[in-house]
Symmetry: C2
C-alpha cells in the first residue's frame, strides 16, 4: 500500500522534509517546538507493524531528530510519544520541553489549544530544522 | 555507571522481570495495563544517550512488549512514550488503551489518580506477563 499522509496530520503541521524512512513535520503550535515523524510505509498503526529493519531506522531518525531539536532549542528534555488514539496512522512525536512551558511537567497531548506560528516564524524554524536535520535541498 | 532504578519508578510499579536490555515493570494502576521498560544502563535520560546498538535493542523490546500486551488484553491501541519530565531516568511507557478507558482518547500521563491492583490481581497479571514476554524463571 502506498504512503498517504493522514489529512488530520497534514492539517496540523508544516512540512520539513523527508528522512530515509520518515516524513518530518513541524506541529503548527508555537507553544512547543514539536516534530512528528511519519514512516512512509502505508497506513500502519503500531510499532510492531513495522519490520525490524524499519524499526531500527525509525528509532535512529527519532533519536537524531530529538538530539538536533534539543540542541537547536536548548530544551530541558525531549518527549517522545507514539499514541495514535485519535489518528491511527503510525507517527512519532518528538517534542522539546522547557521547565514552565504551557504543559510542564505534564504531556503536551491534549493540553490546551495550539497557538499557530506566524508565517515568518514558521519559515525560519523550518529552515533551521532543514539544516539541523541535513535535509537541505528537500 | 551501574544501573540503579529510580526510587520513584520502583515505588509506582511491580517487577515483571528483565529482558536482555530492559527491566520490565508493571505500573500499579489497574485503570490501564501499563508496562515500563527501563534500559539497565546507568542513569541516561534521552534516547540519544544510548548507543545505536542499544537503541535497536530497546525498540525491539518495546515493540515486542506492545505486541504481547495488546494481544493479552485485546487492547484497541498501544501507546508508547518516553517523557521523563518528572523522572529523568530513561524509561519507556507501553500502555494498553481501550475506547472509553479512564483517559481515552487523551494520554495516560497526568490523568487522574492511580487505582492500585489488588494483590491477587497484580500477581495474576504479572504471571501472565512473565509468560507472554518469555521471562519465565525471571
Amino acid at each position: 500500500m502506498t504512503f498517504a499522509l493522514d489529512p488530520r496530520l497534514a492539517a496540523d503541521t508544516l512540512l520539513v522534509g523527508d528522512l530515509p524512512l520518515s516524513r518530518v513535520l513541524l506541529m503548527n503550535d508555537s507553544r512547543f517546538p514539536w516534530l512528528i515523524l511519519v514512516p512512509r510505509r502505508g497506513r500502519l498503526s503500531e510499532l510492531h507493524d513495522l519490520s525490524r529493519h524499519e524499526r531500527a531506522a525509525l528509532i535512529e531518525e527519532t533519536a537524531r531528530a530529538g538530539e538536533k531539536l534539543k540542541s537547536l532549542t536548548s530544551a530541558a528534555k525531549i518527549n517522545i510519544g507514539a499514541l495514535g488514539n485519535i489518528v491511527s496512522q503510525l507517527h512519532v512525536h518528538v517534542v522539546a520541553r522547557f521547565e514552565g512551558d504551557a504543559a510542564w511537567p505534564g504531556p503536551v497531548w491534549g493540553a490546551g489549544m495550539a497557538a499557530p506560528y506566524s508565517s515568518a516564524a514558521a519559515q525560519e524554524l523550518v529552515r533551521d530544522l532543514v539544516v539541523a536535520l541535513g535535509l537541505a535541498g528537500a
